[in-house]
């Protein structure tokens, strides 16, 4: 068990971060903190993809300018998950921007960032 954790610590870390992010999203009353929780949740998934693609001793998949003629093996990390993470980061940024814009709108209308206060304000109307 300990050995498994030692070699697969990135996966364990991913699930811990995933849990923290989801807990923040659900439990925090502050809307901005909720959004940070969502971000953390997404970042954990990016970590997961990077960990999947990691190869012990593997290089970047760029053909070297002067390949070593002696070695026939070229150990490379898979580029696909990294590209996926880049795309997912862009998507995540767009979502965060939209979310923050909505929060600005809510704050200017109701004058609060806290969900419990927001619920009271809306119940009064």
């Amino acid at each position: 068990m300990i050995e498994l954790l030692g070699t697969h610590y990135a996966y364990a870390l991913m699930f811990v971060l995933l849990g923290i992010g989801l807990y923040m999203t659900i439990a925090s009353e502050n809307l901005v903190k909720k959004l940070i929780g969502v971000n953390l949740f997404q970042t954990a998934i990016f970590l997961f993809f990077v960990a999947v693609a990691y190869v012990e001793g593997g290089g970047s998949p760029v053909v070297p300018a002067d390949p070593d003629p002696g070695s026939s093996e070229l150990l490379l990390a898979s580029p696909l998950p990294h590209v996926i993470v880049l795309t997912a980061i862009v998507v995540g940024i767009a979502l965060t921007a939209v979310g923050l814009a909505l929060i600005v709108r809510i704050h200017s209308e109701y004058g609060t960032l806290r969900e419990d206060t927001l619920r009271e304000v809306r119940a009064d109307e």
């Binding site: 995933l18 989801l22 999203t25 809307l31 909720k34 959004l35 969502v38 949740f41 997404q42 998934i45 997961f48 993809f49 999947v52 696909l80 998950p81 996926i84 795309t87 997912a88 998507v91 767009a94 979502l95 939209v98 979310g99 909505l102 929060i103 709108r105 809510i106 209308e109 109701y110 927001l118 809306r122």
Partner: protein, 526 residues
């Protein structure tokens, strides 16, 4: 590459590129958005119809008739594909048709302005991409594009309530899409590919640890889509989003966003994972059927107790999508075709119903069930179309709502899933309960000035024109620019007629979907 192979790519790229035009033109001209959007959606609809003639005109297996576009010319394992097969073409027709029809409403009634139409085109492009993508990661990207468009459109309402509803949807929807992304990660670990056709070939050969990874992937993907399709208990974003979105936006998101997500779930379940994989995974079918069946009952019960009509119809969507997901889980051919017919039919019915709600709110100011009193006498066209669509929703023949439910019920009996058959019966009763309440108010309760806001109701009673005049003067007493137009009523009536007419088309659906259903390799009904 022949020219028709370009169509899937054009259908996705053109609306997304055209989305920038209204904003750019908006710098100089005020109201160009509607015209640009109309031209674009007409082109998209024409393109989809042409695509449909090619896909349905060809004969052969599903992959042979499909129009496949390889982006950049890179072949399958490496490249990304857009695939228009028999199923995705049908959904693409629904998307472009609804988007085109709805423009008749937004011309006068909807939120106007160039930025609204940019969001509209972005959403249509995202939906078409989600429909035709042949790559599981690209599906995530399009899911998020659809999400972004939806959040922006929901928050384009006047009141601050819509911003709160949009933020709630954003947080829940992002978590749902992210959970789907985890599933994609597990699937990639297990198979090393992201292409759907490649995955379909690889998944049945998996063994040992990779099989476990694929099962975990299925679990994450199903939960992610259960959020997007609004299955109980993950549906809580949907009623708020539907209720607080502007009237011109609700038909679009109610008819398309969840429908296309439910289509994507079918695509993943039946093309990527395959029926054998799901059947061999312990408790997978049981869980899918249970989630669906519980949603049916919970959605219907919650719909019955609502007073706001939009909210009532939103909860009704939870129940109808539950029926579709439960039918997926049955894994029989009849139930799958039933689910797909119900998917298209429900999209059509909900689009019509929410347009009707918008028309009534514009011309009559009514939003709650009680305020609908006496609607039939003052607004015969709107009330009549709405009544037809409501009856269709219950599933009374001949209508598209009936054949969808009928095939699902037959599939449930074939699979000996008596609980599902019972749930369908129970939900039909509950649907009748909330539909009858509305019908009774519209047709049998006389309107009184007290129940109507703004005290406009009195005028309708001795209006000499009502019912006989042209639809424009159909009780239209509201002043200002926001009036009920011929176009709105026209679209509404066409939708109602279509919902009934398609009720005779059960065999046609079966025939059109036959290549897809065969490729899903399901238990053939006895």
């Amino acid at each position: 590459m022949s020219s028709v192979d370009l169509l899937p790519a054009l259908l996705v790229v053109v609306p997304i590129l055209m989305a920038t035009v209204p904003i750019a033109l908006g710098l100089r001209y005020d109201r160009t958005g509607w015209a640009v959007t109309l031209a674009t959606t007409i082109a998209l609809f024409a393109g989809t119809v042409y695509l449909a003639t090619r896909v349905y005109g060809a004969s052969g297996s599903n992959l042979e008739v499909a129009v496949i576009h390889q982006l950049g010319g890179f072949p399958r394992p490496m490249g990304i594909e857009l695939v228009a097969d028999t199923l995705s073409t049908m959904i693409a027709l629904l998307v472009t048709g609804t988007a085109l029809g709805l423009l008749a409403y937004t011309r006068v009634g909807g939120p106007r302005g160039n930025t609204f139409y940019s969001g509209y085109l972005l959403l249509v492009g995202g939906l078409l991409g989600l429909t035709m993508t042949g790559d599981v990661f690209n599906m995530f990207v399009f899911l998020e594009i659809v999400g972004l468009g939806t959040y922006a459109l929901i928050s384009s309402g006047d009141g601050p309530e819509s911003a709160v509803a949009a933020l709630k949807y954003l947080i829940i929807g992002t978590v749902g899409a992210s959970i789907y992304l985890i599933g994609v990660g597990f699937l990639f670990m297990a198979t090393g590919t992201l292409n759907m056709i490649d995955l379909a070939a690889t998944v049945p050969t998996l063994e040992g640890q990779n099989l476990q990874l694929a099962r975990a992937a299925f679990a994450f993907i199903f939960i992610g889509f259960a959020i997007k399709v609004a299955q109980w208990p993950l549906h809580s974003w949907q009623p708020d989003a539907y209720q607080h979105a502007p009237d011109g936006v609700t038909p679009l998101i109610a008819a398309l966003v969840s429908t296309v997500s439910a289509y994507a779930l079918a695509r993943l379940m039946f093309t990527v994972f395959g029926a054998d994989f799901i059947a061999s995974t312990p408790y997978a079918t049981e869980l899918v059927v249970t989630v669906g069946a519980v949603s049916v009952v919970a959605g219907s019960v919650l719909a019955v107790i609502q007073t706001d009509v939009k909210r009532m119809l939103a909860y009704s969507s939870v129940s109808q999508f539950g029926l579709i997901v439960a039918a997926y889980g049955l894994l029989t051919e009849t139930a799958l075709v039933g689910a797909l017919i119900h998917l298209v039919g429900h999209g059509l019915m909900k689009a019509g119903l929410f347009i009707a709600v918008g028309v009534v709110a514009l011309g009559y100011g009514a939003r709650t069930v009680d305020e609908y009193a006496g609607l039939a006498s003052s607004r015969p066209f709107a009330a009549g179309s709405m009544a037809v669509l409501l009856i269709t929703l219950v599933g009374i023949p001949p209508s598209i709502g009936f054949i969808g439910k009928w095939y699902i019920a037959v599939g449930a009996i074939e699979a000996q899933a008596w609980t599902v058959a019972g749930v369908i019966f129970l939900s039909t009763m509950l649907t009748l309960a909330y539909v009858a309440r509305l019908l009774e108010k519209m047709y049998f309760t006389p309107s009184s000035a007290l129940e109507l806001p703004h005290g406009r109701g009195r005028d309708h009673d001795h209006d000499p024109d009502h019912g006989a005049g042209t639809p424009v003067t159909d009780g239209g007493h509201s002043t200002g620019t926001r009036q009920v137009t011929v176009g709105m009523l026209g679209v509404l009536v066409v939708t109602a007629v279509l919902a009934v007419a398609l009720g005779f088309a059960g065999d046609v659906f079966f025939e059109l979907l036959a290549p897809f259903v065969e490729s899903a390799d399901l238990e053939v009904s006895a």
